[in-house]
Symmetry: C2
Subunit: 308 residues, 2 copies
């Protein structure tokens, strides 16, 4: 019997065939699909947010659930250096859930939608047998630049993240700011060769970038150390697990990870809302290594969230 990973591998293979794919520049396997329309490239992607999988009530407020549902899609759009155009929301509500909760969910989405000029233009409503199910589909456009893909990273590129990492479970996963403006600024001002948002965890998402770019990466331990979030350190103090471990493997940071062709010392002045923390570089040999100041080299396994 086929297992889940075999299924996803089968799906990528059958969906990646050329039949009827005129105009599809990038299909399955990036943060969003890229489609060539007569007026330019558009982006299309979706993200599901499901009760008791991606959030639990009452830990999450309804507004935060809505924020997260749309925010995940916006973060994908940021990773493509795209501009959001419009969103579609499908929602399935379990029978016992008060409608007021759904209202809060939509208020959370609309606040974020307004901030990014991304109207919610339609969708579908239905019942669910158990748990709230939200699926947001986002249409984006790339008019100011080419979309930045997971593939394209080159040996010699430096790796940067747009913010600190780890411990998002303490709240950031419900309240993160999608890095739309940051993604656009990076694509317009820097020689960026590949970009992805950190949703599954740095080790997993860097692994995705390396697999698509057919390369490997070295992380500088002292630099990653400097990119550990306050929340990762809080968790570490509580559990005794290393804070570095949370920074490398925690999902849902929703920071951008970019492979850029210039070193930290060559970076131009950054606008106030853009942070770029250097954490390592791209190398030819596959695999991800952590390099310690002593010269010790340790292979990093993808430890983040795996879909399915």
């Amino acid at each position: 019997m086929m297992n889940e990973f075999e299924f996803i591998s089968w799906l990528r293979q059958v969906l990646d065939r050329p039949v009827g794919r005129t105009g599809v520049a990038v299909g399955i396997g990036d943060d969003m699909a890229v489609i060539d329309l007569p007026g330019g490239k558009v982006l299309l992607g979706s993200d599901m947010v499901i009760e008791n999988i991606h959030f639990t009530f009452p830990d999450a407020k309804p507004e935060e659930v809505g924020h997260k549902a749309l925010g995940r899609c916006l973060s994908d759009c940021a990773a493509m250096a795209g501009e959001p155009v419009a969103a579609i929301v499908s929602v399935a509500r379990p029978p016992e859930m008060p409608v007021e909760i759904l209202k809060g969910v939509f208020q959370g989405m609309m606040q974020l939608a307004d901030r990014f000029g991304c109207p919610i233009v339609g969708g579908d409503t239905s019942h669910s047998e158990k748990g709230l199910v939200l699926d947001v589909c986002l249409l984006g456009k790339c008019q100011r630049n080419e979309p930045t893909l997971r593939r394209g990273a080159k040996a010699g590129d430096y790796l940067y993240v747009t913010g600190t990492l780890g411990g998002s479970i303490l709240g950031k996963h419900l309240r993160f700011e999608p890095k739309i403006e940051q993604g656009l600024w990076i694509a317009e001002h820097l020689p960026v060769h590949a970009m992805i948002d950190i949703s599954d965890g740095l080790s997993s998402d860097l692994g995705h970038m390396c697999a698509e770019s057919r390369c490997g990466a070295e992380l500088f331990s002292h630099a990653v150390e400097a990119a550990i979030s306050v929340d990762a350190r809080k968790l570490s103090a509580k559990t005794g697990k290393e804070a570095m471990d949370y920074a490398i493997n925690d999902g849902e940071d929703f920071e951008l990870l970019a492979a850029i062709g210039i070193s930290p010392s060559e970076l131009p002045d950054l606008p106030e809302n853009v942070r770029l923390l250097p954490i390592g570089r791209i190398v030819e040999e596959s695999g991800i290594l952590m390099i310690y100041p002593t010269g010790r080299r340790v292979e990093i396994q993808a430890g983040g969230y795996r879909h399915f």
Copy 2:
């Protein structure tokens, strides 16, 4: 406490505000949203298909479930006289469901996608607590004509459907053909003022069209009689309920309902794949009436499926 209908009414109101809506030609309230992009108008819409709500296993084969999930979106696109460009599929699978079933679902979708040149370009996979959840989001384009909306029907227009009605529960709801080519042909060759697909039932969907167009409709009983499907008659023979009742109120026929500015005798020759069955006409006064040959006039209440 707010009830469901109040919620949907609230949602339509708050989502229909102008904030950030540059480029949104048509938002909530039609079969798909219409968005103005630099290269032309695009369409965006989504439909959820949920186990034990929209289908049950093993009554439905996995391939049929996939067909239905994508087909519903394609039918919406047909109603807008749009051409499908690409689809995004989000799927949440309950833990106990064999992956083989999911493979069948995607095979059903892909067969339909290939026939309509509409590649599946991405999506999301997740777990569900109970029951299979599929959400398909479709991107369409309108390059050969303006999108046909629910609003725009005028007193004097004749009402046509593209096929017979009722009894889809006997199988058509899983195996219908989305009327993409028919929708395009109608928009290109006839003075169509409004169009919708019959997903909730003729009485409900005609009601939607009339509400959006601020008009009413008269159905000619002998003409509707001639548009009753074989399956509606089969159901009627079994249950004793009138076949006409199934034709008027059953959902998921996925035929197009069009308000066209010419009478049946003025219609040009139709291509082989286009059927247009006249069933009534648009009038100024609100409400939907069934007109019998005797002159009797009976008001029809929306009796089809109501969302939520």
